[in-house]
């Protein structure tokens, strides 16, 4: 309760003072890898447009393929709003059921599942640069002590997914891998 009061206090008073618009205590110069990955995944939604029939659903469906640290952590995104729509997190979907998701975080990338998803408007996110060599769309890659990401445009474009320029600009590399 007190946290909330402080947060709004920060927002109201301190933020204008310092000419910033973000909430008060979120600044981080370091954080756990899991936290950074989850925040990246959340942010990706802001820069991606799905084809109209998928985009027009009432909420964004974010899925995970297995139970792991990141997948479990994704639960905290459940109910958050992004681009005016609520996020719904599903960790119990497997195989073909993943086709209905907007975005899937692959804790254990499986080439067969990735190939299957690569013909649906699903943005797959996984770890490492190799991820996008096997039909994945966004790979989270370590860069020194920080985290960056690489993008494979081929499956996205083939399925009518638009990745906006700011995200492409910030990616470490953008490729078109068949």
């Amino acid at each position: 309760m007190i946290d909330k009061v402080i947060r709004s206090f920060c927002r109201l008073l301190l933020a204008p003072l310092l000419m910033v618009a973000t909430a008060c205590p979120v600044y981080a110069e370091d954080a756990s890898e899991t936290a950074v990955k989850i925040a990246f995944i959340f942010n990706f939604f802001k820069f991606i447009e799905w084809p109209a029939e998928v985009e027009n659903r009432g909420k964004f469906l974010l899925c995970a393929d297995a139970e792991g640290a990141v997948s479990e952590g994704l639960q905290m995104l459940d109910g958050k709003t992004v681009n005016g729509k609520p996020l719904s997190v599903r960790r119990d979907l497997k195989g073909q059921a993943l086709r209905a998701c907007h975005m899937v975080y692959m804790e254990n990338p499986d080439t067969a599942i990735l190939r299957d998803l690569s013909v649906y408007p699903v943005v797959t996110v996984g770890d490492g640069g190799d991820f996008i060599q096997q039909y994945g769309v966004i790979g989270l890659v370590p860069q020194d002590n920080r985290l960056s990401f690489v993008i494979n445009l081929t499956p996205a474009q083939a399925n009518g997914i638009k990745i906006r320029a700011p995200l492409l600009k910030l990616a470490k590399t953008v490729q078109a891998v068949k």
Binding site: I2, D3, I6, R7, C10, L14, A15, L18, V20, T22, A23, C24, P25, V26, Y27, A28, E29, D30, A31, S32, E33, T34, A35, V36, I38, A39, F40, F42, N43, F47, G73, M76, L77, K80, G128, V141, P142, D144, N145, R146, L147, S148, P166, L167, L170
Partner: protein, 660 residues
């Protein structure tokens, strides 16, 4: 007898015993979703082995430096990085580097009063308790992910040697290297360094890091020492006797709950100072320090509230040195010291009880060998030879109790059995942490601890004076009050008041007839403030000021020798040319210091600048540094015949790194 060095015994390196620092704590994941992608790209990712809790809730004040800081400011050694920490300062005698901590420094103590750890494993060795920090330190700085410093006697779980503070150096994961990395440095005074590393995280989660590096410096070609300014001793010029070489190896494999790691360092240094009557300008004066460790760690989350950490280790340390003396003919005296020790520890961290975070653990170390020998090589003459062995057992308990949403009470107790002291000390630790606002934390901390006389100290009197008075442990009680304020957008302010009550300090001086004895009490008090502001995109401004004073209850007052009353540090980093270059400017001001002889070493202001260009072309990182930009002839306190030692002037370094 006059040929024996009157210095306190020389140093060493060493050992392990992992303690509570490296505890994973799967507490709630931070919510960073308010950060933008650009901001996320600038967040340093840290592994689990940090303090196990948010710094603002830790029952201590923690300073942290990251790999990014190390590259931005071009720190070449751990000593360089520690010199940037609030409250710490380093000196060197052209062989070893020594740490001063908040109003306390004892030259020649080889940092035995500071606990130095790598990934939670103690590195102070078992003969001189040395905590090495410069080129003689185990790790290549390129392999460091984070450096954590906690001042004060954080005794309850951190254990022996954490008398003035503790430093935990966390190594990078293989995936931070992500491939094969080659790095080469060229620097002033014919200094070269090369490193080859391989790091990778495999699909099955296994993380591997292996690295080898070699450092070679010709040193300063001609060093002038006024104490030897006579025609018979080359007019005080020591010519080509400042060389230093270090080889390092490190390997680590992490898979599931297991981490196996090992490291090796071998450092050679010619000693140009002839501080204790050695033949001046003789290339035969040198020291060698070697240390090796192996460690197997098992870390398991028993459930979502409880973590178990088990580890076992061994370490080996070897020091040898030669000193040439003129006794009518040139006689070379050799010190030969070796230590080995092994042990293990177990630690349980649990939140199973509502509103409690409980840490309990035991550590065991067997000192298998603590061997010292000094002799003339030819004709052979043995001055002394000793060996020891024995057990150390430590048990500790700490409970952080969440009294209310805003108030945490932390209580800890540590019990020690140590074969080098006669009784079994019990030391408490108390802390009160109050978070009245999300942004503001108040901490009140009290702790006490001890430092047992080390093997070199125990044998010192017998060695040099053939008497054997009992020696007791040194004691410290440390009090600290801290205010921290974390404002929006990366602004942090903190202020601390500290008081350290040190008694039974082991010293050899006139008052003790040059015998080593538990003589003095020191009362150290002071204040410290820091300001830090980080901007998104990499700009950073950090300033700190530490003021300290010391009262000495002994009649021979040397407590303030070597101590600067004021330390001021400023760090500024600025991204240039759309972030292709990062400029780092470091300014370290150290106040004047009293010398042993009653004189004064002048205050100095040291300015270092560094430029780093990450990925200047694909896979290539560049670093260019100028150290001591204004070519200041700054002074450190000397030892033996030297009242003051002038340090090096301006130095350059260029470093190139290739990642494949």
């Amino acid at each position: 007898m006059s040929r024996l060095k009157l210095s306190a015994p020389i140093f060493a390196i060493t050992l392990l015993s992992s303690s509570g620092l490296a505890t994973a704590d799967n507490a709630a994941i931070e919510d960073l979703t308010d950060l933008s992608i650009e901001e996320l790209l600038n967040v340093d990712v840290i592994s689990a082995s940090r303090l196990g809790q948010k710094a603002s809730q830790a029952p201590s004040s923690v300073s942290v430096l990251t790999a990014t800081d190390i590259r931005t400011f071009g720190w070449r050694t751990l000593a360089d990085a520690l010199n940037a920490m609030p409250g710490l300062f380093t000196t060197n005698d052209r062989n070893y580097s020594f740490l001063g901590v908040r109003g306390f420094i004892k030259a020649n103590d080889y940092n035995s009063r500071v606990l130095i750890m790598i990934d939670g494993q103690r590195m102070n060795e078992n003969i001189y308790d040395t905590g090495n920090i410069a080129q003689e330190f185990m790790l290549d700085m390129d392999l460091v992910e984070r450096i954590e410093f906690i001042p004060g006697s954080g005794s309850s779980i951190y254990g022996a040697n954490a008398f003035l503070g503790l430093i935990n150096v966390i190594t990078k994961k293989g995936k931070a290297i992500n491939g094969v990395q080659l790095a080469g440095d060229v620097g002033s005074f014919d200094t070269y360094k090369g490193r080859v590393s391989y790091g990778k995280q495999f699909g099955n989660g296994a993380d591997v890091l292996v690295s080898a590096s070699h450092y070679d410096s010709g040193g300063v070609e001609n060093l002038y020492f006024s104490a030897y300014d006579t025609p018979a001793t080359n007019n005080g010029i020591a010519h080509n006797v400042d060389a230093e070489r270090t080889d390092r190896l490190l390997g680590r494999v992490q898979f599931k709950e297991f981490t196996l790691s090992g490291g090796f360092v071998d450092r050679f240094k010619r000693v140009p100072t002839a501080a204790y009557g050695q033949i001046f300008n003789d290339p035969g004066n040198y020291t060698v320090d070697k240390q090796v460790f192996g460690n197997l760690k098992y870390e398991k989350s028993l459930d979502d509230k409880t973590t178990l950490l088990l580890s076992s280790f061994f370490q080996d340390y070897e020091y040898h040195a030669e000193d040439a003396y003129d006794f009518g003919e040139r006689i070379v005296t050799r010190d030969k010291t070796s230590g080995s020790w092994w042990g293990g520890d177990a630690q349980l961290t649990t939140r199973a009880f509502d509103r409690h975070r409980l840490i309990l653990g035991v550590e065991y170390q067997y000192d298998q060998r603590q061997f010292q020998k000094t002799f003339d090589i030819d004709p052979y003459y043995l001055y002394g030879q000793t060996n020891r062995n024995g057990h150390r057992v430590e048990a500790y308990l700490q409970d952080d109790i969440q009294l209310t949403d805003e108030l945490i009470f932390s209580a800890g107790l540590r019990f020690d059995y140590h074969h080098m002291i006669k009784h079994m000390p019990l030391n408490p630790r108390l802390g009160l942490i109050w978070n009245p606002l999300v942004s503001t934390t108040f901490k009140l901390l009290y702790s006490s601890t001890f430092r047992a006389p080390n093997a070199a100290e125990l044998d010192y009197n017998n060695y040099y004076f053939s008497v054997n008075p009992p020696l007791h442990e040194e004691r410290i009680k440390s009090y600290e009050g801290i205010v921290e304020w974390r404002a929006p957008e990366g602004l942090k302010l903190s202020a601390a008041l500290f008081y350290n009550d040190i008694s039974q300090l082991l010293e050899a001086n006139e008052a003790t007839n040059d015998l080593l004895a538990n003589s003095h009490s020191h009362h150290i008090y002071g204040a410290e403030w820091t300001v830090e502001k980080r901007w998104y995109g990499g700009r950073l401004l950090k300033a700190s000021h530490t003021y300290s004073r010391v009262d000495d209850e002994g009649d021979h007052s040397d407590a303030s020798v070597g101590l600067p009353h004021n330390i001021f540090k400023l760090h500024y980093a600025e991204p240039l040319f759309n972030n292709t270059l990062q400029l780092g400017v470091e300014n370290i001001y150290i106040d004047q210091r009293l010398t042993w002889q009653g004189g004064v070493a002048d205050a100095y202001d040291l300015v270092n600048i560094n430029l780093r260009a990450d990925r200047i072309i694909e896979n290539v990182d560049l670093l260019f540094g100028v150290y001591n930009l204004f070519d200041s002839r700054y002074e450190m306190l000397g030892n033996g015949v030297h009242e003051i030692l002038p340090m090096n002037g301006r130095e350059f370094r260029l470093k190139l790194q290739l990642t494949l």
